[in-house]
Symmetry: C2
Subunit: 150 residues, 2 copies
């Protein structure tokens, strides 16, 4: 067991712009203008898709040698479908992604068979992919209120 | 139904550094030095935690008026537990998060009762939260190989 705790903070600023931070790395998250934001950064769901693609890329790097894949180039296009009526309360659609799919672009001289086995392993061992594909225990948050009416 | 497709691209660079992009917004994702990276940005799982906190923050902004919450300040600290032995193949632990918890810091003159109902609604309607708490259909990726051995 090597359970580690990973942390991030998000702080709401003007309108729907959010400043986030983890270990000193800062990231601005916003909504596009057609969803009421000022488009200063990726939206939260785009950030999750980018995190998924990055996670697969990193797992690919970690396991390439084991699968004898000479990884000259690796990129992934990630697409997620989401019914925006859900979180806007306009329908009973789930608020989150229904489906996520991807296309891998790999430059290598390895055989197709080896690449297939390699990608299967990457998909099964990607922390972000597993967190999305399977249930995570989200514990209801602790609320600290400043200046409440007693 | 207002199903939209959201997209991102991730491109593996030196070692485990990944350049990601969505709608022209760029984000560098990397691993910390103790996990073999050069620490040029958040790791993928930190990006997901930041995205979760940002998503809750934005949903809070969207619903504050409806719950009569005068939202003077809102931030959220997110923590996720993950057994790194899982994706490293050292144990049978799941590769992803086992548990995610958060603490909300809210400055408002609304009553505690209203804030509780508000936060419950935020948690139930956050797209990223729902995508993590419940299963998403991750479709095995299409693989495009350049220069394979035939």
């Amino acid at each position: 067991m090597a359970i580690q705790t990973f942390k991030a903070n998000a702080s709401l600023k003007d309108n729907v712009l959010v400043e986030t931070e983890a270990r000193g790395h800062k990231l601005i998250i916003d909504e596009p203008k057609n969803l009421g934001g000022s488009d200063k950064g990726m939206s939260p769901i785009e950030v999750v898709l980018a995190g998924l693609g990055a996670c697969q890329s990193i797992v690919a790097r970690l396991y390439a040698d084991k699968f004898e894949i000479n990884l000259k180039d690796f990129s992934v296009d990630v697409e997620g479908e989401l019914d925006t009526d859900g979180f806007l309360g306009k329908s009973n659609a789930r608020p989150g992604f229904s489906t996520i799919r991807y296309t891998y672009n790999i430059e290598t001289d390895a055989s197709e068979k080896n690449v297939d086995a390699f990608i299967k392993h990457v998909e099964q061992n990607c922390p972000v992919g597993d967190s999305l594909a399977n249930e995570v225990n989200l514990i209801p948050g602790k609320i600290i209120i400043k200046n409440p009416v007693k």
